[in-house]
């Protein structure tokens, strides 16, 4: 079981660092938004993995809140970036 934890931790870590790198380097704001989406998704999956492995489900609502954060963030920036006000 610890092998699984180590492998999952390394994979989550590399995914998060890659997303962070894209946030820093991303030429346009849209890259940054997409990378932050991936970062939050990785965080959600990591929290979920920790819950699944340790067997408790205390921070299941955290996943729900993060899911809604991701969407509201990217939708608001997408509306901000797209130049025409297509309401």
């Amino acid at each position: 079981m610890t092998v699984v934890i180590v492998i999952a931790g390394v994979l989550f870590g590399v995914g998060a660092v890659a997303a962070l790198w894209r946030i820093i380097r991303g030429p346009s704001a849209l890259d940054r938004i997409i990378a932050s989406d991936v970062l939050i998704a990785t965080a959600m999956c990591a929290i979920g993995a920790q819950m699944a492995i340790s067997g408790h489900t205390d921070n299941l609502p955290v996943l729900l809140v993060l899911a809604l954060f991701t969407v509201v963030g990217s939708v608001s920036v997408a509306r901000f970036i797209s130049t025409r006000d297509d309401t």
Binding site: M1, V4, I7, A8, G9, L11, F12, V14, G15, A16, V17, A18, A19, W21, R22, S28, L30, D31, I33, I34, A35, D37, V38, A41, T42, M44, C45, A46, G48, A49, M51, A52, I53, G55, H56, T57, L60, P61, L63, L64, A67, L68, T70, V71, S74, V75, A78, R79, I81, S82, T83, R84, D86
Partner: protein
């Protein structure tokens, strides 16, 4: 005893699947050339990774409250993530954040309507 082992193996498999998806998304973010193709990488862990984790949690301790909250999470995420990805793609298309040389089919520009990128003179 075997029920525990089966559950452990199942949980480990799903956690590894989700971890690999997040890793692939990270690599995809780095390697893909432009914004539109990076959207592919961004949406994968959001949906399948989340479903893997939520099924994991539901399997870890199946109680009614956990399963309903897990279903709510999956429902909201699979309802709203496509909307966000669609708006990002449209914003990227309109502000010309993609490379035309690797664009195979351009269905949007040929059709009349507001969603043609400004710089496209065709």
């Amino acid at each position: 005893m075997t029920d525990d082992v089966v559950r452990d193996v199942f949980t480990a498999g799903l956690v590894l699947l989700s971890a690999f998806l997040c890793f692939a998304a990270g690599v995809g973010l780095i390697r893909f050339p432009d914004v539109l193709s990076r959207l592919h990488a961004a949406t994968k862990p959001q949906i399948l990774g989340l479903i893997a984790i939520v099924v994991d949690v539901a399997v870890a301790n199946p109680s009614a409250a956990t399963i309903t909250l897990a279903l709510a999470i999956v429902f909201f995420q699979s309802l709203t993530a496509p909307i966000a990805a669609h708006m990002l793609g449209r914003a990227a298309f309109r502000t010309d954040h993609f490379r035309r040389d690797i664009l195979v089919v351009d269905e949007v520009s040929s059709r009349p309507g507001p969603s043609r990128p400004h710089s496209a003179k065709n």
